[in-house]
């Protein structure tokens, strides 16, 4: 009967109830949808960064990260190969690379680039390479003079596939080394900066350019799940040959890691901001409902109802309202995320999104903990702010209430 009474009390003033419900529904929807959108943006930034030749784990010579030059190379990568073949799960992918800074030039232009020597058979599993060749073809393992360049670099150097590009860098002998390559293909990346920065040649071609025999600068590893990185890094770290360092994506992307670690706090702050706006609505309308029923609360007290029971009654009404609003808000939020699961096109602000390392297509990502947090914030804080009008109802005295006309 108490629940029945609470339900009927809620619908005494349908307009007011609908206003509160609308506030809760919009609040829950906003929290869920914009939470999923923000999560999708963060995920996009992270995926792009990991795809951008970072991988999940890299093994490098100590000092290479601070000074990525040919001197900091790994001359004999055989022990690393043995380690990875032994410890990595079968689904994991890995490859050796040579990555050094250099200059790409043709008859008209010169551009600073990062020269990446890759294993054309293995690299497509690790990075954006190979999934985005838009013109020409990808490199072949035996391609000693082929080069794959980004569309951005191609445009800025005013050249085209089939033409030559000369790469110049510091060789292992500390002398300037240069070699001519023919543009075999053009790739597109999520970010134009990536297209301008990286040029790909085969690993043997890079070795020849640098004048090294079997050397590499890193081994890049990609695991099936990002959550496996920590335990796998620990396992590999135990058997890592001396003089090498193991870096996880968190080590390699400190800015993004910092942003992601603060992300949950941002989300919670966002929830609070939305709730504050909603909370004022809840308090005002509940208070109005309580004041309208002053005589009734006075009567209930006169009949022998204790203040705690009156407080409980008002809170029950608020709880029902919050639950109904949350169910509708969650349904709306889930529906919105479902409808937009194909991605939200942010091409109109492509430059801005690129600046933050995001793709132009954002996929909202709804996480269970975000749903729980949003609902928890609304439910717990909603009941807390409802305590004020509820306590006010509990303090009404029968004599004062009955004196009201």
């Amino acid at each position: 009967m108490q629940l029945q009474l609470a339900w009927r009390n809620i619908w005494r003033n349908p307009r007011r109830t609908l206003i509160i419900l609308t506030a809760v529904v919009i609040g829950a929807w906003t929290m869920l949808f914009f939470g999923a959108l923000s999560r999708g943006m963060a995920e996009s930034m992270l995926t792009n960064s990991i795809n951008n030749l970072t991988g999940h784990i890299q093994i490098q010579k100590q000092g290479y990260r601070d000074d990525p030059v040919v001197e900091n190379r790994i001359n004999d990568p055989t022990p690393i190969k043995a380690l990875l073949d032994q410890d990595l799960p079968p689904e994991a992918k890995w490859a050796f690379r040579i990555e050094v800074n250099g200059v790409a030039s043709n008859a008209r232009n010169s551009k600073g680039v990062t020269i990446v020597g890759i294993d054309p058979d293995r690299e497509p599993d690790l990075s954006f390479y190979g999934q985005s060749v838009t013109e020409g073809r990808a490199l072949r393992p035996d391609d000693a003079h082929g080069i794959l360049v980004g569309q951005g670099l191609l445009d800025s150097m005013d050249t085209k596939p089939g033409r030559k590009i000369v790469l110049m860098t510091q060789g292992a002998d500390k002398e300037t080394a240069s070699r001519a390559f023919k543009i075999r293909g053009v790739y597109r990346a999520e970010l134009e900066a990536t297209e301008k920065r990286y040029v790909f040649v085969t690993l043997p071609a890079a070795r020849k350019l640098l004048g090294v025999k079997n050397a590499v600068t890193s081994a890049c590893i990609r695991l099936p799940e990002r959550e496996q990185v920590g335990p796998m890094a620990e396992t590999l770290g135990k058997h890592l040959p001396k003089g090498l360092s193991l870096l996880t994506w968190e080590d390699m992307l400190p800015l993004l890691t910092g942003y992601l670690s603060m992300f949950d706090s941002f989300m919670f702050l966002w929830y609070l901001v939305v709730f504050v706006a909603m909370g004022f609505g809840i308090v005002n309308t509940t208070l109005m409902a309580v004041l309208e029923r002053t005589r009734e609360f006075g009567l209930l007290k006169a009949l022998g109802m204790k203040p705690a029971r009156i407080v409980r009654g008002v809170l029950t009404e608020c709880l029902i309202l919050l639950l109904v609003g949350l169910v509708a808000g969650n349904a709306l939020g889930l529906l919105t995320v479902l409808v937009l699961s194909g991605g939200i096109d942010l091409s109109f602000m492509a430059e801005g999104s690129q600046y933050f390392g995001m793709s132009h297509l954002i996929f909202p990502k709804l996480m269970a903990r975000d749903v729980v947090a949003a609902n928890g914030v609304i439910l717990v804080l909603g009941l807390l702010v409802s305590l004020y009008p509820a306590l006010k109802a509990g303090r009404i005295t029968p004599v004062e209430a009955m004196a009201q006309t």
Partner: protein, 227 residues
């Protein structure tokens, strides 16, 4: 046997900087099963006295004993229990809960007392039958006339067999015919259920039904007539 014993009770309100003496040294004994009317003009202190007897307010001095228990100085929680178990109220403005039906309004007191649902329903319907509201169990207050609403209020007041029923100007909002009908019912309940009724009124018709008529003026008893 005395069900209410009032001993030298005073009640003083503070209005701004002025003390208003609503009751000045009232002493009164009310017998069980009585039909007592506190009469007097507005401001005579009858409603204040009724509120004190009902534990809705505390006297400034003096003591009140209800059914053998001194209620003066009891905690709010104990007073609430006492009101729930021993007192039935009928108010001038009916004060029914608008979202509950007639039967649910009557059942509500029993719900607070923890009476099982089946028994609640049977007792509520029986008492509604007694006050002449057969078949109107599921009507909400807005669907009942003023007289019918007040009968529901009477049914609510007597359903849990309280020691006393306090009725504050119960006929004030009713026309004389409806008021008389209500008084007949309350008289019947007084006799049939041996319920003790205490009224406050300035309605002559209510006074005519009184078995005992206590006149108040300026917070003092000026006449006490047993019929």
């Amino acid at each position: 046997m005395s069900i209410v014993h009032i001993d030298n009770v005073t009640k003083t309100y503070r209005q701004g900087k002025v003390d208003v003496h609503a009751l000045s040294g009232i002493s009164l004994d009310i017998s069980k099963g009585g039909f007592t009317v506190l009469a007097g003009p507005s401001g005579s202190g009858k409603t204040t006295l009724l509120n004190l007897m009902g534990g809705l307010d505390n006297p400034t001095s003096g003591s009140i004993t209800l059914d053998g228990e001194v209620i003066t100085g009891l905690s709010q929680s104990r007073l609430a229990d006492m009101r729930l178990e021993k007192i039935g109220f009928v108010f001038q403005a009916y004060n029914l809960i608008p979202v509950l039906s007639a039967q649910e309004n009557v059942e509500y007191v029993m719900l607070m007392q923890g009476v099982p649902a089946k028994e609640r329903s049977e007792r509520a319907r029986a008492v509604l039958d007694d006050v002449g509201l057969e078949g109107k169990y599921s009507r909400r207050p807005a669907e009942l006339s003023g007289g019918q609403q007040q009968r529901v209020a009477v049914a609510r007041a007597i359903v849990s067999h309280p020691s006393i029923v306090l009725a504050d100007e119960p006929t004030a909002n009713l026309d004389s015919k409806t008021g008389q009908g209500l008084l007949e019912i309350m008289c019947e309940m007084n006799e049939k259920r041996n319920a003790t009724f205490i009224f406050s009124t300035h309605d002559q018709m209510v006074m005519d039904y009184a078995k005992r008529l206590v006149h108040l003026k300026d917070g003092r008893i000026v006449d006490d007539e047993t019929r």
